[in-house]
């Protein structure tokens, strides 16, 4: 068993470890020595925080690890819809390209679906050295069961070193299912990926505690190293039609007699861009005063070609549908421009949008926490400001 203990002789009672513990599992005893509580998860954050080497941390040597030298190549899962790669696929190729170059290896896009000739070409233009494509009529739409089955066949046949997927609805369902079947590590929602220059391991950095803490995670003894990557964080490459790549059609068994069937696919967002795909989001909060006033939010979003977001308070009050909710219990977004109109900026809301490039806050209360993350702020009444902004943008954009 791994173990952690305080070396009382060295502990000076400085409390640094208490601040460093993300789990609140440290306390001071009456004689001013640190005490580790039962809810310690052995994460080791206190060990690096202690300046006096007063915490003895014995990590377990893992014995059932695999021969990691047998694994090679960076893979990305290229999500597609009706044969067209989703933007997340290109973002994964963007970061995957850097990783593959740093690791001196190839970048492979795994593409599962039906009628994918065009998609293969596009993936090569955007950075893939190889596209591994599996086509079948039954694979046209994403299915957890068949996609897992096929992906695992490909992994077992080819032993990739790294697999990246989008932290999308499908990616966040497929990746853990695969990782659980092949018993490897998976890091969710990464916002930064690097190759450790010393040992070639994948350094996976992700937000935790609603973005208040960043954690860098490794998967030292298991392969492949798997991660899901947050949408709209990684940059795609410019498409280059001179790039060449190989298209491989591996032999796989297409699973039949599935326990899961997708009966119907319904799109409810017809007039606007989906929230997670939008480059511009205009969000409304309690400060809008009345559900009717969301018409102004809609109007501004429409002029700017953006999507409509909302705070939890307005969704809970039934002003707008849940699918518009931004924040910890709603969607996580990272557009180029985010308008927070009459949103005070509770920590849970900030967790869902603080990675936006430019944040505009309009709020009556100059002390609203939203102004702390805002690039541009207006202290004022949204009901007065929104029509003025609509007028300004209309004048330029028509």
């Amino acid at each position: 068993m791994a173990s952690i203990k305080i070396i009382n002789e060295k502990c000076v009672g400085c409390r640094l470890c208490i601040g460093a513990c993300p789990f609140g599992a440290m306390e001071m005893s009456n004689d001013r020595k640190a005490v580790i509580l039962d809810n310690c998860t052995l994460c080791g954050a206190c060990v690096s925080a202690c300046k006096f080497e007063a915490i003895d941390f014995q990590k377990e040597e893992v014995s059932n690890s695999v021969d990691i030298s047998l694994y090679e190549g960076i893979w990305i899962f290229a999500e597609q819809k009706h044969g067209e790669p989703e933007s997340i696929a290109y973002e994964l190729l963007g970061v995957g390209r850097t990783l593959a170059d740093d690791r001196n290896t190839t970048l492979t896009a795994v593409l599962i679906g039906n009628r994918l000739d065009d998609a293969c070409k596009k993936l090569i233009m955007q950075g893939a050295d190889r596209v591994m494509v599996v086509e079948d009529e039954s694979l046209d739409h994403y299915n957890d069961e068949s996609y897992t089955d096929i992906f695992v066949q490909l992994i077992r046949e080819n032993n990739p070193e790294v697999i990246l997927m989008g932290a999308t609805t499908y990616g966040r369902s497929l990746a853990p299912r695969i990782a659980s079947r092949i018993n490897t590590g998976l890091t969710a929602d990464c916002t930064k990926l690097e190759i450790d220059p010393e040992d070639g391991k994948l350094l996976q950095t992700r937000p935790a505690f609603g973005g208040n803490l960043m954690a860098t995670i490794i998967c030292p003894n298991h392969r492949p190293q798997m991660a899901t990557v947050r949408h709209k964080v990684m940059k795609e490459l410019e498409p280059d039609d001179k790039r060449t790549g190989e298209i491989i059609r591996p032999e796989v068994t297409i699973p039949k007699d599935l326990k899961i069937k997708v009966k119907d696919v319904v799109s409810t967002i017809c007039e606007m861009v989906p929230l997670t795909e939008a480059d511009i989001i205009v969000s409304g909060g309690r400060g809008m005063g009345d559900p009717k006033n969301f018409a102004l939010i809609n109007e501004l979003a429409e002029i700017l070609g953006g999507a409509v977001g909302a705070s939890r308070a307005t969704v809970d009050a039934g002003w707008i549908e849940y699918s518009h909710q931004v924040g910890q219990t709603g969607q996580t977004v990272g557009p180029q421009v985010y308008f927070a109109c009459g949103i005070s900026g509770a920590i849970q809301h900030l967790a869902g949008m603080s990675s936006s490039d430019t944040i505009i806050a309009i709020n009556k209360n100059p002390d609203a926490p939203i102004f702390k993350v805002a690039t541009f702020g207006i202290v004022g009444d949204v009901m007065e400001m929104l029509p003025l902004l609509i007028k300004e943008f209309k004048a330029v954009l028509g």
């Binding site: 068993m1 791994a2 640094l16 208490i18 993300p22 789990f23 609140g24 809810n39 052995l42 994460c43 954050a45 690096s48 893992v62 014995s63 957890d144 897992t148 609805t169 966040r172 369902s173 853990p176 299912r177 990782a179 659980s180 018993n183 490897t184 590590g185 998976l186 969710a188 929602d189 505690f209 208040n212 803490l213 960043m214 954690a215 860098t216 995670i217 490794i218 298991h222 326990k259 899961i260 069937k261 997708v262 009966k263 119907d264 696919v265 319904v266 799109s267 409810t268 849940y322 699918s323 421009v337 920590i347 505009i360 102004f371 993350v373 690039t375 003025l388 300004e392 943008f393 330029v396």
Partner: protein, 268 residues
């Protein structure tokens, strides 16, 4: 119909505060709560049990004090609660957690449906539901916003997607993870609270459920945290000044001059 609901203890996030001097999260004196997403899972479990006259059991993995939180679920209609608690479970990542829960669930016995919340508020990974389904070798569907029909061996539900929803059929037993749109959790009834006070929560160790210790906790976790740090939000806020008209005009000019999507939109 027998339903098992998985819940997790998380810190009550409303009170996450930063210590400005040391730049760390202040976590002292923060009460523990049931992961908010899991309360929808509990409610859905109770509803299915009531409709099908079956049994609803919650299971959790955590420190001994989680027993008190599990009692809260009994107050809202859960029949039985099980806590997996053992030093050997500590430090588990999502794979080791999936394994431990799967062993606990096998030990509970027959079940038709397992319900998890969409994700936990502290880790936000959303990985345990699908990982658990795989360990039990049963199908799963994530982000369920509505159960359209459930009967012996069959479920039809709606899964929320980025631009709408899908209608998915599965053979039971299966795992679903639910979003908050699925229901509105009830408040505890007086009768429920009385029952919860008297309730005995079962606590099982690794040995009780026959779990392989090398697959549990830190030892069974392929991933390791090597570094944690507080992100620097270096935002230089610029406040617009002047009359409302002037402020609107200034802001529009700023945005239009930044040459991003707004301008591209115009060209295309």
């Amino acid at each position: 119909m027998n339903v098992i609901v998985c819940v997790k203890q998380v810190p009550g996030t409303n009170e996450v505060k930063m210590n400005k001097e040391t730049n760390t999260i202040i976590r002292e004196g923060i009460e523990a709560i049931i992961n908010p997403f899991d309360t929808y899972a509990v409610e859905e479990g109770v509803r299915i049990k009531e409709q099908t006259s079956g049994k609803a059991t919650v299971i959790s993995m955590g420190i001994p004090s989680v027993v008190d939180l599990l009692k809260e679920t009994i107050a809202v209609g859960i029949d039985d609660a099980v806590l997996l608690s053992d030093r050997a479970f500590a430090g588990a990542d999502s794979l080791a957690t999936s394994y431990a829960l799967s062993m606990g669930i096998k030990h509970i016995g027959e079940y038709d449906l397992i319900i998890c919340g969409k994700q936990a508020m502290d880790g936000d990974t959303a990985q345990v539901g699908p990982g658990l389904a795989e360990k039990l070798n049963i199908p799963h569907t994530t982000y369920v916003r509505k159960i359209e029909e459930i009967r012996e061996g069959y479920i039809r539900c709606q899964r929320m997607t980025e631009d709408g929803y899908e209608v998915i059929e599965m053979l039971l037993p299966a795992v679903i993870t639910v979003v908050k749109e699925i229901n509105e959790p009830r408040l505890p009834s007086l009768k429920g609270m009385m029952r919860s006070k008297k309730a005995q929560i079962t606590v099982w160790t690794t040995d009780d459920i026959g779990a392989d210790k090398s697959l549990c906790g830190l030892k069974g976790s392929p991933t390791q945290v090597v570094k944690t740090f507080v992100p620097i939000h270096d935002v230089k806020s610029e406040m617009m000044e002047g009359t409302p008209e002037e402020q609107a005009s200034k802001l529009a000019k700023k945005l239009l001059s930044m040459q991003f999507a707004i301008c591209q939109e115009e060209e295309s």
